[in-house]
């Protein structure tokens, strides 16, 4: 992901931030480790972003691979359409999640990752079934192709908006009785609990700085875009680098950069330079589209629209609401982490959270990007929108696209809607100043 920004930066006058360089280096190093995994005898664990147990995987000495991230990067690199077609050829329906199809297609075509390097096959599928039913089907499908064990971690849904003791115990039991033994069996080594604690301590530090960065968007104007750039910011902490020194360094650098931006009164970075004027402050619900990420983003920054908070940047943990990994209670803390991811929240909690963002971040509006692939996000969004409008008086905008299927992204359509939406916000604002009244 960092690489993407770096490429963007090269095309514009934006100076390359140090944090991007760090992230780029981290990704390259991880890719190299994966590339050499088999020859160096390292074990490889495929797992999902929400509810991931990265510290545990790293503490076991194995290397994590995140099929969702491969899929989104394939989308950004225009590879996903072919992969999706390949998966549909073996019987996958047009109706289902395109992350799954992109990943299955990639696997069928030789498992060459988005960076062009062949990915090592998994030694273990760690099915963290958190906030998305499709994850289960996804790994059931992969199991048919890879001759490797799969361990299920069923993370109960926060249906009543709370984590009960029984829920927590269930997850802890599974981590202790299923996940850890499965990892140990694959690596042939006992997991060092002190190493796990050490890593969780590192997670905490990075988490503090990520939260600080995301919350800097409360300023007016905001120094960051918490969606289009936010997805880069969350990268390391939501994936292979949580619980590493690298992540701590990255987030320290990121925080320093944002502090500098604030001092120099700079707005968010865009592919075409620093945003000159913040005209609309928005909250966004739902993941972005990856196949036309730049075009999609452009519609926003062309209009001076800045995303000040988003739910998508919480799919890998709701750190801004107070959660931190706790080395004192490693398993309980991992369990809480899993259950607290955004897509594991029920609809009323999601509404509360978005309402909080709209108010706390002083948003002029909120946009729902309804993703065809993702029922976990999308089913119920229209009701959420209505509730939020009623509670806050802030109007919602609604657009539809997909994660990585270019067939479901229409620039003209989305542009039409968003521009209408922005004009509506402007008109409502202007209405206050009475310019609108013509001869009547």
């Amino acid at each position: 992901m960092a690489e993407k920004i770096a490429q963007d930066g090269a095309n514009s006058s934006v100076q390359k931030d140090q944090s991007m360089e760090i992230q780029k280096r981290m990704l390259a190093a991880h890719a190299e480790k994966l590339w050499k995994a088999k020859e160096e005898g390292k074990k490889v664990v495929y797992t999902f972003v929400p509810g991931n147990l990265t510290e545990l995987i790293l503490a076991s000495g194995a290397l994590p691979v995140y099929p969702e991230i491969n899929a989104l990067q394939s989308g950004m690199r225009n590879l996903s359409a072919d992969y999706i077609q390949e998966a549909e050829r073996i019987g996958h329906s047009e109706d289902v999640c395109t992350y799954v199809k992109c990943d299955v297609g990639m696997m069928l075509k030789g498992n060459v990752g988005p960076t062009g390097v062949k990915l090592p096959e998994p030694d273990l599928l760690l099915l963290s079934y958190t906030g998305c039913f499709v994850f289960m089907k996804w790994f059931e499908n992969l199991k048919q192709h890879y001759n490797c064990p799969c361990v299920m971690l069923h993370v109960p849904y926060q249906a009543d908006g709370v984590v009960t003791d029984a829920m927590k115990q269930y997850v802890v039991d599974q981590i202790r009785d299923d996940v850890i033994p499965a990892l140990e069996k694959v690596t042939g080594k006992k997991i060092d609990m002190d190493e796990l604690r050490r890593r969780m301590q590192l997670s905490r530090q990075a988490e503090d700085d990520l939260v600080w960065t995301l919350q800097s968007a409360k300023r007016k104007p905001s120094p960051i875009d918490a969606y289009f750039v936010g997805v880069y910011y969350i990268g390391p902490l939501f994936s292979a680098f949580r619980g590493t020194e690298d992540a701590v360094e990255y987030y320290r650098a990121l925080r320093a950069e944002v502090e500098d931006r604030i001092k120099s009164n700079l707005g968010p970075m865009t592919p075409e330079g620093v945003l000159a004027k913040e005209r609309y402050r928005l909250v966004v619900e739902g993941p972005p589209n990856w196949t036309s990420f730049r075009d999609f983003w452009k519609i926003f920054y062309d209009e001076g629209a800045v995303v000040v908070a988003s739910s998508y940047t919480k799919v890998g943990g709701l750190y801004d609401r107070g959660f931190r990994h706790d080395p004192e209670h490693p398993l309980e803390s991992l369990a809480e982490y899993c259950m607290g991811c955004y897509t594991n929240l029920n609809i009323p909690s999601r509404i509360d959270l978005l309402e909080h963002y709209i108010r706390e971040y002083n948003a002029d509006g909120f946009i729902v990007n309804s993703i065809k692939s993702c029922n976990s996000f999308s089913a119920g969004q229209l009701l959420m929108m209505r509730e939020l409008e009623q509670r806050t008086g802030v109007p919602g905008g609604f657009i539809e696209s997909d994660l990585v299927d270019p067939r479901y992204y229409s620039q003209a359509n989305i542009k039409n809607r968003l521009e209408s939406y922005f004009q509506m916000l402007a008109q409502r604002r202007a209405a206050g100043s009475a310019v609108l009244h013509g001869v009547s």
């Binding site: 329906s93 109706d95 289902v96 069923h154 249906a159 269930y170 039991d173 309804s370």
Partner: protein
């Protein structure tokens, strides 16, 4: 073409049979739950009804807690969906639309609550939608365990059942009593035995049990108490052999994938009339989800947990563990002596559609012919399907003869 001798069916049997099917049909078309509303009206203070969504919910807990369980499969092709559509994007299946439509209209005064079992993200989120729309009613998300170890998933499931029972007992005002739950288990064990017997009859004599009759008969359980439903099925089974129903030269088909959103009745009829005997289908899988009796002699909650963990059927909505579902699909098809399999999924149904590729592959490897089709509960066009399943049935027969 008749393979068996025709024999006259007694007029009395015909009449009794018709009466059964008619009564089932009345229930089937009563998507607005008018009968339940009428039943409640007789004693409004004491009678409570809570609906549950597909696929499986432990009705024993409802009954034991003094609440009437109502199975709901949405509105089928019986409701005009307006508000439901305003809640759901075009790429989401149809079931939640009619559920919301009915929830906001006819069901509002009839149901005290809704139980949504964990089967997919859409149904999961229906539970949240319900909470927002009906803050004063009970909405319970039944997080069925995907871990099947009794000290882990079992422990969690037990806590779920206890929690649900607490909610329901509070609603009914009935003091929790182990005997009440045990009695309910006895009734539903009997009910499931009857449904299994009916399903077995289809396998052995599919011409005695037309698919749409089987379907209506099972669906009558949506609103009936267990014993009335069981009696009805048993009566049907007794009559079935007495009717004049000669065997046709049809293909024996197993249908898989329609366990949640239901096909319209006419679709089932269409498939059958195109030359297929349905020797098995999973439309009403919840009624046979438990493949064995729950133990009637131990703690009733623990009994329901144990039977779920150890003896629930394989399904697209359950994690397969170490035995691939595709393997079990092939085994089932062979056991039911199916000539072919129809992989039939509701549009946009994640669990069903995501199983399709490996189901297809397993069937191919096993040399079992299959065909795939998609539908929605409010489907209105049957000619293309008649064409497809008719051709499929013909092809199977030719293939069998060749």
């Amino acid at each position: 073409m008749s393979k068996t001798m025709e024999r006259p069916s007694s007029q009395a049997a015909e009449a009794a049979h018709k009466e059964i099917i008619d009564s089932c049909q009345r229930i089937y078309y009563d998507v607005r739950l008018e009968a339940i509303a009428a039943w409640k009206k007789e004693d409004p203070a004491a009678r409570k009804a809570v609906a549950y969504l597909p696929v499986y919910a432990p009705r024993e807990i409802f009954v034991g807690s003094g609440v009437r369980p109502v199975a709901t499969f949405g509105g089928g092709d019986q409701v005009n969906v307006i508000r439901g559509d305003s809640f759901y994007q075009s790429y989401i299946c149809h079931l939640p639309r009619s559920v919301v439509e009915l929830g906001l209209s006819s069901w509002k005064d009839t149901l005290e609550g809704l139980v949504a079992p964990a089967i997919c993200d859409v149904i999961r989120n229906v539970s949240g939608v319900w909470k927002v729309l009906f803050p004063d009613k009970l909405t319970y998300f039944l997080d069925l365990p995907q871990n099947f170890q009794s000290k882990c998933g079992g422990k969690f499931y037990l806590s779920q059942l206890q929690e649900l029972a607490e909610h329901l007992s509070k609603m009914s005002g009935r003091k929790p009593d182990a005997d009440a739950y045990r009695e309910a288990i006895v009734s539903y064990n009997r009910n499931r035995r009857a449904v299994r017997a009916l399903a077995k009859m289809r396998v052995e004599n599919p011409h005695w049990v037309p698919a749409w009759e089987y379907y209506l008969l099972v669906r009558a359980g949506d609103q009936m108490d267990a014993d009335t439903h069981t009696d009805l099925i048993e009566k049907y089974i007794d009559l079935a052999g007495e009717l004049n129903r000669p065997e046709q030269d049809n293909a024996r088909i197993m249908v898989v994938g329609g366990f949640c959103e239901q096909p319209p009745l006419n679709l089932i009829r269409t498939i059958e009339r195109s030359g297929c005997y349905l020797v098995d289908d999973d439309f009403t899988l919840g009624y046979r989800f438990l493949e064995q009796d729950a133990d009637e002699n131990i703690d009733p909650f623990q009994s329901l947990v144990d039977v779920y963990l150890k003896h629930s059927t394989y399904s697209s909505v359950k994690y397969e563990g170490d035995t691939p579902k595709s393997k079990r699909l092939v085994e089932t098809a062979l056991a039911k002596r199916a000539d072919g399999v129809l992989l039939m999924s509701p549009s946009f149904c994640d669990p069903s559609l995501l199983d399709r590729p490996h189901f297809q592959k397993a069937l191919e490897d096993a040399g079992i012919p299959y065909s795939t089709l998609q539908y929605a509960e409010n489907l209105g066009q049957f000619a293309p399907i008649r064409e497809q399943t008719g051709t499929f049935a013909e092809a199977i027969k030719l293939w069998g003869e060749g």
